[in-house]
């Protein structure tokens, strides 16, 4: 049996009319705001070596990519993210540029295998910013403020949850580096599965037991950090929490605490995050519409070790959310003056089927 030509592959879709205009308007809003913060647009290759993503994102994420081979047999991939290629460019092409380097993009990314059934799209468009060469919480705050400005300009209510990858890393350093142990542990904490987490930790002898068992419950405003200090003692984790504390103070001083939360239980992010990590939740959407964090170690693998922080937002998710929102009118196409077009249309209107005799008469 042959497949009908009308069929569309799973996870692919069209945009048209109002929705396409809305999508473009959101993209334009983002790029205008990013330009205001001095972020330069970067376009990365759609097809790249699979090894780039495998190394940067970690195997569990990169293996979801569409993969195929090059003429020489090397494995290629349709990019599953943009950050990996940006980090490589920063360390190579833009190595000589002034720091900090600020770049932004709107680009489709592809996954052959989605993570869960609700994440059905296999092509999604990421809106993102990367700030390379800034190590402090001031740099962290800068990218968070850009997210805030963008979501505020769309009149969306949102909550950004903050964590620091080193809190978890500090807790597991006591244990032998058993990757399966760590993957399972991350999974249970991120699921807030306290019952199963308790049973899991019983099987392992770990000095950080109490801290790990409590991580799943440690979410809330600033006071979460003082609660965390009562169960987490190791220096590495505590240093990470001090950094979060500084960031939180900064957020409070900007009167933005309503839009932020600490969530030490969010331990599921990409392998490359080394410090701050965050997730962006928007009212009305059932899944996070963005995420980001600090990936200080990543550029080192391309020969230049420097700090970096960035975020991505899900353009398709935001479009879907706003498409149901009556505040966002029709986004009618704008008219513009054009001499050639008005002369042409005066004679022929919108006709497309005039004969050559009619046209040259």
């Amino acid at each position: 049996m042959t497949e009908p030509l009308s069929k569309i592959p799973a996870g692919m879709r069209y945009y048209f009319g109002r929705e396409a205009r809305l999508r473009r308007a959101i993209e334009d809003t983002a790029m205008t705001i990013f330009a205001g913060w001095s972020y330069e647009e970067i376009v990365t290759p759609t097809v790249d070596y699979y090894s780039l993503f495998d190394h940067a994102m970690g195997h569990s994420e990169s293996h979801r990519a569409f993969r195929f081979t090059d003429n020489d047999g090397r494995l290629l991939a349709l990019r599953p993210d943009v950050t990996s290629a940006v980090a490589r460019a920063a360390a190579t092409l833009f190595a000589g540029r002034e720091r900090p380097l600020r770049v932004c993009y709107v680009a489709p990314v592809f996954r052959q295998q989605t993570r869960s059934p609700a994440e059905w799209l296999r092509e999604t468009t990421q809106i993102g910013c990367e700030l390379i060469g800034g190590a402090s919480h001031i740099a962290d705050m800068e990218v968070l403020l850009i997210v805030c400005e963008f979501l505020q300009s769309l009149e969306l209510k949102f909550l950004i949850t903050l964590n620091q990858a080193e809190v978890f890393n500090g807790l597991i350093q006591i244990n032998p580096a058993d990757p399966i142990f760590h993957t399972d542990l991350r999974h249970l904490i991120a699921q807030r599965n306290t019952a199963a987490l308790g049973l899991f930790l019983d099987r392992y002898d770990t000095a950080a037991r109490e801290g790990l068992a409590q991580l799943a419950n440690l979410s809330g405003k600033g006071q979460t950090l003082s609660k965390a200090r009562q169960v987490i003692y190791n220096e590495r984790s505590r240093a990470a929490m001090d950094q979060l504390e500084n960031l939180w103070r900064l957020i409070e001083s900007l009167h933005l605490a309503d839009s932020f939360e600490i969530d030490l239980g969010d331990v599921s992010p990409l392998d490359y995050y080394s410090g701050l990590t965050f997730k962006i939740f928007v009212e009305g959407a059932g899944k996070p519409l963005g995420s980001g964090g600090r990936y200080d170690g990543l550029t080192a693998s391309f020969g230049a070790d420097e700090p970096a922080v960035g975020f991505v937002l899900d353009l398709d998710g935001i479009t879907e959310l706003l498409a149901d929102d009556s505040r966002f009118g029709t986004h009618e196409p704008k008219d513009h003056e054009s001499d050639l077009r008005s002369r042409w249309q005066k004679i022929y209107g919108q006709k497309t089927d005039a004969t050559i005799e009619e046209v040259t008469r």
Partner: protein, 215 residues
């Protein structure tokens, strides 16, 4: 005002869940309970409950149509949905087991034929042991498969073991323990944190109470 929408698995778990809710102070008017409506509100109007097929609970919750759900762990093990699972409710306890006509089912031609409603779980279980299996996915009455020779064994839920016995099957091994779980949508967990925490606490008090009683 409705604070939370909660999807509850119909069937086996429905009665014990409604009883648990009642003990936790979430009651329903007799009218709404006796009606055939699939979405009912509790008597204070704070919670809306949806009654859906067990396998659909994770779907409603992951899409955020329901903020929370109550469903058996067996269903969660079979899906790849991304949900928070903050609480085991300790009700509707049962096991997922491998069962066959004999304690050691003999594979036909080197490949074990397994009939099941849990294809993912079954494939994972035998895959981890390097046993080559042919998974035969059925929608129900799985116990018939070994009896009629469709499969060498089954992977299925066992509550009392009565159905297995009546069909001449014995338990080969238990794969997983299951009981009702509270699941929460990732976004609701943060955006409706107060309501979700309150609901979780109400249920947790009952779960802890049960545990002390049964000790």
């Amino acid at each position: 005002m409705i604070l939370l929408t909660i999807a509850v698995a119909k069937g086996r778990l429905q009665e014990p869940v409604l009883k648990l809710l009642e003990r936790a102070g979430i009651g329903f008017s007799p009218d709404s309970l006796s009606s055939r409506r699939l979405a009912i509100e509790n008597d204070t109007g704070e919670y809306r409950f949806l009654f859906v097929k067990p396998a659909d609970v994770p779907v409603y919750v992951e899409h955020g149509i329901a903020d929370c759900g109550v469903v058996g762990r067996d269903v969660l093990l079979e899906t790849t949905t991304d949900l928070l699972q903050p609480l085991m409710l300790g009700i509707g306890r049962c096991q997922v087991v491998v069962a066959g006509r004999t304690i050691a089912p003999v594979p036909n031609g080197g490949v074990l034929k397994v009939a099941t409603k849990y294809p993912r779980l079954a494939a994972e279980h035998f895959g981890a042991r390097g046993v080559p299996v042919e998974i035969i996915t059925l929608a129900g009455s799985v116990e018939l498969a070994p009896v009629l020779g469709l499969a060498d064994c089954i992977v299925d839920l066992m509550e009392t073991g009565e159905t297995l016995r009546e069909n001449g099957l014995v338990v080969v091994e238990a794969i997983a323990e299951s009981s009702a779980c509270l699941v929460v949508n990732r976004a609701s967990f943060h955006l409706k944190a107060d309501a979700v925490n309150k609901f979780t606490m109400l249920l947790n008090e009952q779960v802890l109470g049960e545990m002390t009683c049964s000790k």
